[in-house]
Symmetry: C2
Subunit: 354 residues, 2 copies
């Protein structure tokens, strides 16, 4: 209950690549909307700068200890994209900072809304966020030069809590359908368990229809203009949630338009669903990065800590700005609007909304 | 080399649900196109009836021993969809017959073409077909009531042979790009190995550009009308291949329009990419099942055994019939054309093509 917290500490964590650009801009908008609360001491902002690939490489850890300690002094975090080292990169093979933060702060639910009102699309994805194929991420086993293993994990508690959250959301928001997405016909043990447990939880919500689909055909159904609007709430294991939310975001304008809430019992973290686009920086296009995804994440943050009025205001402003001419110029190209100019425009628009 | 075989034995294996309906119809078309070869003894057809869910349940095996023995007497197989038992079904928890057949006959490559000429889409997916997350399918471990494990496996040989096939196809068909799709930023050990080995093989094909993408963003890119036509050939682990080919088929008219070749060193099996639709049977709509996917698989079979002229003829006839008025009446609804009537129409059309 955030109303009881005094102050609520909001961490601002820039990340890599275009992360600092779009996070700084979103923080500016956020601070503006919460100016009164900052003045009255209800809200405190805290900059957390150390989550860069350089620092992580030096520490040989997905999140350096001092950064993790700082993150833990916050209640909620607005986090920019971070670069995940990969084979051939100059960095050691450390885990993704996103994935590590989700685990370290036990952010078990990754909530990703996708809305295209004109097409009747109003989806909310509840992606399990701490286990599945991500559990042991960097800890697969090379049994020999010829044979490599990775592991997928489903726990009862991990599944029940994400299912519960999805159904509670559906009930509260009067969504009449929850779709459980797995590949339980092949990945029988873990996905089978996930499906079964979600169906069990669903029985506590007799007013909601539960159905279930395999992940393969679901990616096709999202494209089917006649059937896709029937979907409302999805609950799904980590990897399928990762995959399908990128596809889903495309209907709304691409991953650059999609925010995401990572929710746990003690912490919550809000981020874009896309990566850090290092090439934009190396090509000098950093100032032109598109902040829409982070601003959508900012809406979710505001709503999460109970500032619904501000959340609505920012959301409405974004709905206007994103589909307006000016939005079209925030393309990440050096001849488009800058990230800061788009931030100004969103703020101006929000102010006019009274 | 099929030219050296005398006779080539083609197994016809109906499967479950609508499987027998659409397989029978496709076999009828196939036999018609190969009538001379059957007469001259170059080709022999063999019906394999036992791959039903009832028989499999009785045997407690994904493929009963006698059926497997029969399958192994064939060179190539045309196989209808089979029903995969799932939790709550009256069947024991046996593995998918598809998955089992791919393993038993070592059909390591699942080749799935998707074409939408009007949109410049001409994709061929090379899905690794015997390992990845499918390797131990039904052999995950319930460590306790609370904790379940599944396993993903990548082997050097398994990866190299699918990569080699994809690049050879690209070279032969003058495709200038091969895209390797993984989630190597998270599933580092197995997907990392898959990516690295494919890149290595790619070095033998300097005329072909290799790029690589993560599976999540790839599902978005396929939707992007400006960028998707850049993709040509994909090579990808089993699970991602499963997922993305259903999405891709949707652009072409849905999974009901997509055939698939399962290729190994000793055997090859051709099938639809969709399931057995048991509900169509129980609702009495079986005769109205749409055979297009199986007919596309039949084209691939003809081409595979070296009857390219017949393959082209059938493909051209399908291209005409599928996008024609009559095609629109093969909707699986009881007031549409029957499967048999559509088969007649395809044959008639093929005959007219000289
Ligand atoms: C960057 C990557 C590790 C991450 C994920 O796979 O979860 C991203 O794709 C996401 O969806 O937030
Ligand atoms: C039926 C199922 C086991 C199968 C798979 O997952 O491979 C199907 O979806 C396919 O793509 O052929």
């Amino acid at each position: 209950d955030y109303a009881a917290l005094k102050p609520i500490v909001i961490g601002i964590c820039g990340g890599d690549g275009i992360g600092p650009v779009i996070t700084h801009e979103s923080a500016r908008v956020l601070k503006h909307l919460l100016a009164d609360e900052v003045k009255s001491g209800k809200i405190v902002f805290k900059d957390i700068d150390g989550l860069t690939i350089e620092n992580r490489a030096k520490a040989g850890k997905a999140i350096p200890d001092d950064v993790l300690a700082e993150l833990k002094t916050c209640h909620v975090i607005l986090k920019g994209p971070t670069t995940t080292p990969r084979a051939g990169d100059p960095w050691p093979n450390i885990e993704s900072a996103n994935v590590a933060m989700r685990k370290e702060l036990d952010l078990f639910a990754n909530v990703r809304p996708v809305k295209v009102p004109a097409q009747g699309i109003d989806w909310t994805f509840f992606r399990e966020n701490t286990e599945g194929s991500y559990t042991l991420g960097s800890n697969g086993v090379n049994v020999s030069d010829d044979l490599a293993f990775d592991f997928t994990v489903t726990t009862t508690q991990g599944t029940e809590r994400i299912a519960r959250l999805a159904y509670e959301f559906a009930r509260k928001n009067k969504k009449n359908r929850v779709s459980i997405i797995t590949k339980a016909n092949v990945i029988k043990t873990t996905d089978g368990k996930f499906l079964r447990l979600c169906q069990e939880i669903g029985k506590d919500y007799p007013e909601i229809t539960t159905d279930d689909w395999y992940i393969d055909i679901t990616t096709a159904k999202l494209i089917d203009e006649k059937r896709r609007r029937d979907f409302k709430v999805f609950v799904l294991p980590n990897l399928y949630g990762d995959i399908i939310t990128d596809e889903a975001a495309e209907f709304q304008g691409g991953v650059g338009t999609a925010g995401s809430a990572n929710i746990g019992k003690c912490y919550a973290m809000f981020e874009a669903i896309h990566g850090s686009a290092p090439r934009m920086i190396s090509e000098g296009r950093g100032p032109y990065a598109d902040p829409c995804s982070m601003l959508r994440a900012t809406v979710m943050l505001l709503s999460h800590i109970g500032y619904q009025k501000q959340a609505d205001k920012l959301e409405r402003a974004l709905d206007i700005c994103m589909f307006d001419e000016k939005r079209l110029t925030v393309t990440g190209r050096a001849d488009g609007a800058t990230c800061a100019a788009f931030g100004d425009y969103v703020l101006e628009t929000a102010e006019k909304l009274s």
